[in-house]
C-alpha cells in the first residue's frame, strides 16, 4: 500500500496503490481488473473523496505533450494529455495569445479533472462549463477499448463522461477550443454591495455585460447587512489599455506560489473570531467602486499564491459546500445565507455566482440560476447545518457540486441529480465488473 490519499479538504483519508502509467498502458491496466478497481487522479483539488479509491488502484496524472492547431472554422484547438495542469497550459497558451476557455479558482487542476467534474469558472453565465468547449476526447473504457468521442461522435457516452467523475473510463487526452485574448491582464470592475437584494439585482441585470463575474459574500454579516459583498466583474484587457509594467510584459505567464504553509497545525487556525475580523477588514478595505487592471492570478486564482493553504484548517480539514438553485428559487440563496449566519460557523468569504445554461452532461453540476460556495472548518458539528442546507436545495430543485462534496448521503444525492439512474444504468452496461471505482462512487452508491 502506498500513501494515504485525501482530497483538498484533507478529510477521510484512505489507502490505495498509486500507479504511474502512460496513455498506452491504460488499456492493459483496466483489463487486468485490479482488486477494488481503479480511478484516475489529477492534482487532488476536488475537496472530497472523488479521486480516492480505498484498497484499490489510483492512477497518477497521465503526462503527455500539448499541441495547438487552427481549426477550419477559424478557432484554435488545443490537445492536452489528461494530466496536464491548467497552470502549465496557461503558460503555453498565453505565449500564443490564447487562454483556457474555463478556469476555476485554482490553476492547479488537470484537464482530466476539469472534464470529470465539468468545472465552471467566473464566465459560466456566458461561456458554460468546461465540457461545452471540448470537441473530442480519448476515453479508455473499462473493457480496455480506446474510444475517441465528442459531442458529435458517441454523444451519449461523451455527455455521460463530462461530469462523470471519472467513473465511465479513463480519459487520456482532451481536445478543446481555446479562447483568443489580447493580453494576460483583466480589466476588473470592483464594487462594494451592502446587502443581498442589491447584489442579486445587480448581477441579474448587468452580468451579461461582462465575461467574468463573481461576488464574495461576508457570511457572518446578519440582519440588514446579510449578504453584504464585494462584486468583481471583468473582461480580458485589450493590449491598447495596458500601461507601465503591464505594457512592457503583456503576456506574463502566471508564476508559482509565493509562500507555502509547510505543516499542518494541530489546531485549525480558522476560527470564528479570526474569520469575523478578516471578513470585516476585507469588506471595509474594498473600494466602493473601482476599475483596474489585474494580472490573471490576482483575478482568477488569489489563493494559488499560498501553497497548501488548506493546511490552515488543521487536522480536521475543511469541508466545502457548493449549491446551485434555479432562477425561480432565488429566495433559497437568502435562506441558505440565513442558515449559515444563524449557525455561526466561520465561513471565509462565500462565493456567489450566476450560472448560465447547463449542458446535457448526466451528472454535470451547473443549471441556470445561482450557485453559492462555502468553505467551513471540518467536524461533526457541521452535520445539522449541511442537512438543513440539503433540504433547502432539494426543495428548491437544486443540487450540490460533486467535486466539492465529501459528505452527501446517497438518498439525498438521488433527489438532487434526476439523471442519476440513467448514469448508473450506463455504468452497469459499460462496467459490469466495477473496474472503475472511487470512494465517492462507494459513498453515493453510483
Amino acid at each position: 500500500m502506498s500513501p494515504l490519499l485525501t482530497g483538498w479538504g484533507r478529510t477521510a483519508p484512505t489507502a490505495a496503490t498509486l500507479v504511474e502509467v502512460s496513455p498506452d498502458g491504460v488499456p492493459a491496466l483496466l483489463r487486468s481488473h485490479p482488486d477494488r478497481g481503479v480511478i484516475a487522479r489529477g492534482l487532488g483539488r476536488s475537496y472530497g473523496d472523488a479521486a480516492q479509491n480505498a484498497g484499490g488502484t489510483v492512477i497518477a496524472p497521465i503526462a503527455g505533450p500539448t499541441t495547438v492547431r487552427d481549426a477550419d472554422d477559424g478557432t484554435v484547438l488545443v490537445t492536452a494529455a489528461a494530466g496536464t495542469s491548467l497552470h502549465e497550459l496557461m503558460g503555453d497558451l498565453l505565449s500564443r495569445h490564447l487562454f483556457v476557455p474555463v478556469t476555476p479558482g485554482t490553476r492547479y487542476v488537470t484537464v482530466g479533472g476539469a472534464l470529470a467534474a465539468d468545472i465552471h469558472g467566473k464566465n459560466h453565465h456566458r461561456d458554460g462549463s468546461f465540457g461545452d468547449h471540448v470537441v473530442e476526447l480519448e476515453l479508455v473504457t473499462p473493457d480496455g477499448r480506446v474510444r475517441t468521442i465528442g459531442p458529435g461522435a458517441d454523444a451519449d457516452l461523451f455527455w455521460a463522461t463530462v461530469g462523470g467523475m471519472g467513473l465511465l473510463g479513463v480519459v487520456t487526452r482532451v481536445t478543446f477550443r481555446a479562447l483568443p485574448v489580447e493580453s494576460a491582464y483583466v480589466r476588473v470592475h470592483t464594487e462594494r454591495v451592502p446587502g443581498l437584494e442589491a447584489l442579486l439585482r445587480t448581477m441579474r441585470e448587468h452580468d451579461d455585460e461582462f465575461r467574468y463575474s463573481v461576488a464574495w459574500i461576508d457570511t457572518l454579516a446578519r440582519g440588514r447587512a446579510l449578504g453584504r459583498s464585494v462584486l468583481t466583474r471583468g473582461d480580458h484587457a485589450p493590449a491598447a489599455e495596458l500601461t507601465g509594467a503591464a505594457a512592457r510584459h503583456p503576456w506574463r505567464a502566471p508564476g508559482d506560489p509565493r509562500v507555502a504553509i509547510p505543516a499542518t497545525p494541530p489546531v485549525g487556525l480558522v476560527t470564528r473570531v479570526g474569520v469575523r475580523a478578516f471578513n470585516e477588514l476585507w469588506y471595509r478595505r474594498a473600494p466602493r467602486r473601482r476599475v483596474d487592471l489585474q494580472p490573471i492570478p490576482a483575478f482568477f486564482h488569489p489563493l494559488d499564491l499560498v501553497e497548501g493553504w488548506n493546511r490552515l484548517y488543521g487536522r480536521r480539514g475543511l469541508v466545502q459546500y457548493q449549491l446551485v438553485v434555479p432562477d425561480t428559487a432565488e429566495v433559497a440563496v437568502e435562506s441558505a445565507l440565513r442558515l449559515l449566519s444563524d449557525a455561526g460557523h466561520p465561513s471565509f468569504l462565500a462565493v456567489l455566482k450566476r450560472f448560465g445554461a447547463g449542458n446535457p452532461g448526466l451528472l454535470s453540476f451547473p443549471m441556470p440560476g445561482w450557485t453559492l460556495a462555502l468553505d467551513l472548518p471540518g467536524g461533526p458539528a457541521l452535520a445539522p447545518l449541511f442537512r438543513a442546507l440539503d433540504e433547502l436545495v432539494v426543495e428548491a430543485g437544486g443540487r450540490v457540486y460533486l467535486a466539492k462534496d465529501s459528505r452527501l448521503a446517497p438518498a439525498t444525492f438521488d433527489r438532487m441529480y434526476d439523471r442519476a439512474e440513467e448514469f448508473r444504468k450506463l455504468r452497469r452496461e459499460l462496467d459490469p465488473d466495477g473496474v472503475l471505482r472511487s470512494d465517492l462512487a462507494r459513498r453515493l452508491d453510483l
Binding site: 500500500m1 473523496d49 449541511f386
Partner: protein, 251 residues
Amino acid sequence: MLNALGEPQSLLLLGGTSDIALAIAEKYAASGGLRVVLAARPGPRRTGAAARLTALGHTVEELDFEATDTASHPALVADAARGGDIDVAVVAFGILGDEEEAWRDHDAAVRLAEVNYVGPVSVGTALATQVRQQGHGTIVFLSSVAGERVRRSNFAYGASKAGADGYYLGLGEALREHGGHVLVVRPGFVHTKMSDGREPAPLAVGPGQVADAVVAGVAARKELVWVPAPLRFVMSGLRHVPRPLFRRLPL
C-alpha cells in the same frame, strides 16, 4: 465509507447486545439509517435489539457470534463484510465475573482471560485483515480504566483489559499506513447490565455518554479517549502512586 464529517455508512457491533454497543448504534441513527451488523449470541436479546435498531431507521443484519470460538472469527468478519465495507467495527464484548472467584477458581480465571483478552485479539486480527483489504476502516475497542493500573480488587479483569488495550493501541499504529484507524475507549464505571448490582465508583457514567465519546472520537480520528474525560488525569495520577501507598487506597 466514512464521510468528511466522520459519519459511517455501516457499523459492525461485536457483542451486539451490549448496552454500550446499542447506545452507539442509536447515536449514529441521527445521521440517517446505517447498515448495522449485530454479531452476538442468538436469542431474544439480539432479536429485541435488532427490532429496536430497525425502528430507528437502520438496516439490521444478525450474525451468530461467540467470543471464545476464535476459529470462527475470520469467517464471521468476512460474512459481515459481504454486504459492503465495514466502516466502523465496535469490539464491545466482555465479562466482569466475580472478582475473587476470577483468581481463586481456575476455570473462571481462564474463561475471563479468554473472553476479555483472547477474544478481542482474535477479532482484532480478523478485522485488521479486512481493514487492510478495504484500505480504510475504524475499529473501536471498549477497554476500561481498570486496565490502566491494575489493582488488587479486580486484577484478573484489569489484567485482561490491560492486555487487550495494549494490543489495540499497537494495532492502531500498524494499520495507520493501510488507511485504518483504531480508537481505544477507557470508560470508568458505566451503569450497564454488566455492572448491575455493583456499587458505582465516582465519576460513573451511562452508556449514552460512552457512545457520545465513541462517535466524537471516530469523527476526530482520536486514538485514545477516557469517559468521562477528566478520568484521564485521575488515572495519570494513580499510575504514579507508589505501590505501598496504592495498596492502601480504597479502590
